[in-house]
Amino acid sequence: MTVADELIEAVGVEGRISSPADAFREIGEPLAVDRPEGPVDRAWANHLLGLELVNPANRRTFTVIVVGTGLAGAGCAATLGELGYNVDVFTYHDSSRRAHSVAAQGGINAAKAYKADGDSVERFFRDTVRGGDFRARETDAHRMAELSVRLIDHFVALGTPFAREYGGGLATRSFGGVQVSRTFYARSQTGQQVQLAGHQALQRQVAAGTCHLHTRSEVLDIIVHEGVAVGVVTRDLVTGAITPHTAHAVVLATGGYANVYYTSTLAKASNVTATWRAHRRGAMFANPSFVQFHPTALPIDGEWQSKSTLMSESLRNDGRVWVPTQPGDGRQPGDIPEHERDYYLERMYPAYGNLAPRDVSSRAAKLQLDAGRGVGPLRNGVYLDFADAIARLGNGVIDERYGNLFKLYEEATGENPRKRPMRIAPGPHFSMGGLWVDYDLMSSLPGLFVGGEASFAVHGANRLGANSLLSASADGWFVLPFTIANYLAPQLGSAPLPLDHPAVLATVAEATERIERLLHTGGATRPDVFHRQLGRILALQCGVTRSAEHLTAAITDIRTLREGFWNDVNVIGDGEHVNQELERAGRIADFLDLGELMCIDALDRDESCGAHFRVEHQTAAGEAQRDDDRWCSISAWEHDAAGGVPRRHSEPLEFSAIPLVTRSYR
């Protein structure tokens, strides 16, 4: 009997099925169901009543560290500052305005029900849970839906110029595979506009002296004392100075990790370091393998292309997706006659057609690419064709709808989508996985709170379009300020750990040592080379589709790659000046660790759900087949500090408001 088997028998959660993951992980104690008492729709209101408060006069005696100034971080910091707490805010960017939230285009959902289309908080909640393929907590999803209403009010009050109807009311549109119109937007710059609202509110607190903003400061580690998170260690990206900061609570709002795939729709600097370091210090990492691939990203055409830029989902409203029926067809798209084209989304999903949800569309594209029917110089894309829409509606209407996007595409590729179909491909886009948190958004490391994409939160195994600006904002503005107060209240009268405390000094020493190690491997290979290889391994073996065989191979490949990295990485320059190679190398080192855990998680989760598609588990029609008997749970991974394999804990999910059903888009 293996250790894992013994554990299985001891806790009796899994039955006795042996798994190819046995060699790579242990199974730990199951976690308790994390769910406040009472009915789902009263959960947050009831919970709030039970939270402790901090007297206004006492707030300034508390210091809170907030890492990140995206929607989650800026909202949380600005609100805490406004309430009178003393807040230390960190970002590796040069300004709080630049966080990657700024790049979101499509919009932000809210159950305002401004149209007579049957929307409500309840319906929004259901869409979210179903969209996430029943792998998110009901209570957390419900809270997000509830808070969405006040959040739009708040952004409007802050001066966010959302689109309006002629009558002066807010405009909405339908987005991402739902049948109601609940997406609020500001042209194609919604993320930018809500990000600026947060940035401005934060700058107001900087001027008021409540928030102390440390720009160009990268958090390298979390300081833990007696099992509690009490601070962070940062590196000044200009001077290289490594400095500890302590506080009564720490918030990580550090964004998503889809850049682990090297090219993604994310900004180049987005990384996993802060949450990964926290994981190594005791915070559990939930569902790391749950990553959404966006079906309308740009294919990678050459070695030096920076990223797979996202082309908005809205293009699929009028564009038709197709590939040549013949594999390897090298003809120009215009030379391929109608009967030799496969409009595969329309064929496979007649009810939704080109608007099938993201995970479904990405998978369908992958099927075509794998069958050799890809298009473009590297045969890694599919066509998105506007010819029919232009014939039907005219160039004028199409330009009005998509002019901006066509310009972006033309700038990036040099091709005119009015004359030649766009080429698109699935691109890594959003990480549903992240640090495990409880209903208060506190990680398993007490004192460490997590908000926004950095946590695993409400999106289950697949995020609905326009739900992420919402969840990040709701966490930051309307959840964390309450739950953090509750955590701080009993600490009244205590001071943050002194900076000369041995626990602080030890963490600083470790962070310094790691930097030194990176600078002095004496190797010959650029950090980026390792990142590219990691990306390739993950994209092929832990991407849109996964299999036990591929995942097992990927784990070995990543381990070899990591060893190569630490022996042979060449980080040029020193630690005392701006050193972007050093910054990259540190982030890649953590991506290498994360990549392995993603594969282990994907191998372990022996079912398909949402964006996690194990080829072994599909219906006769080729759709994801969940296994609710064995996998209706969150996988929360514990790092083994002694160097052993990671330990997986399962948190059971309970569905009382929405019956478990199979998603269908046929």
């Binding site: 305005r97 009050a157 689109a163 109807e165 401005q200 292309q305």
Partner: protein, 247 residues
């Protein structure tokens, strides 16, 4: 394509800098200027030369991190386009391109092509916001805003904070940046209560670090967000009105 690059190299804010010439023999027309720098940097590192430091992040023209002077022009030859969206298609094979940091007294060089633009955030901190505490907002549709007004506020709000307006301006004036925020919030009902104070304090904060506007219009040509010079007129108007009022 064969491209020669003359790039400003400077190790620290206080050290002396100068142009250094490099060539990239395998450039392609699809490459952006930043991808060209990536390509060059890979070569430099392989030859154990420290790579060129430059700022960038989203690479799709919205984060405002990137921005260099390309042959003396802020962001590059294509008008109203950030550096990350400037492609080598705009250059001929064999071209020599000179890349320098976006210089201005208020933008000290940090390293190579990286500059410090924190003076722009100080202007926002001086009043570029609406002081609504979290949780106190009224129902969003209780205050109707005409579509046209909202659209124009959005035009102003589109600023990406890259700071190219300052680099393009012979006076190193930040009035396009300041005007964009002042104008956006002055248009909206939510911006009214603090309208006068905002204009006054943001203009005062800008005057500490940046020059005055003399209506040259170079900022408008450089601005990747297409901010109109109307916002400068609006700013002047708002500041004048504020000077008559005590609020």
């Amino acid at each position: 394509m064969n491209i020669t690059l003359e790039v400003w190299r400077q190790v620290t804010p206080d050290s002396a800098g100068g142009f250094v010439t490099y060539t990239v023999a395998d450039a392609t027309p699809e490459m952006s200027l930043l991808e060209l720098l990536d390509r060059l940097n890979a070569d430099l590192v392989d030859h154990r030369i420290e790579p060129i430091a430059f700022e960038h992040d989203c690479r799709e023209g919205i984060c405002g991190c990137c921005g260099v002077l390309v042959d003396g022009v802020a962001h590059g030859p294509a008008l109203n386009t950030p550096t990350c969206q400037q492609h080598l298609r705009s250059f001929v094979d064999g071209a020599t391109i000179r890349l320098a940091p976006m210089g201005a007294a208020a933008y000290p060089v940090i390293r190579d092509l990286m500059i410090d633009r924190s003076a722009l955030d100080r202007i926002i901190a001086a009043g570029g916001f609406v002081s609504t505490p979290t949780g106190s907002a009224p129902e969003a549709n209780s205050i109707p805003i005409a579509k046209e007004l909202a659209d124009r506020a959005m035009d102003d709000a589109a600023c990406i904070g890259c700071g190219a307006c300052v680099a393009a301006c012979p006076n190193a004036s930040a009035q396009l940046f300041v005007g964009a925020k002042v104008s956006q919030l002055a248009r909206l009902p939510q911006g009214q209560p603090e309208r006068r104070a905002r204009a006054r304090s943001m203009a005062a904060a800008a005057a500490l670090d940046f020059g005055a506007c003399s209506d040259v219009g170079a900022c408008r040509d450089a601005c990747p967000a297409g901010i109109s010079m109307d916002v400068i007129a609006a700013l002047n108007r708002e500041v004048l009105r504020a000077s008559w009022s005590r609020r």
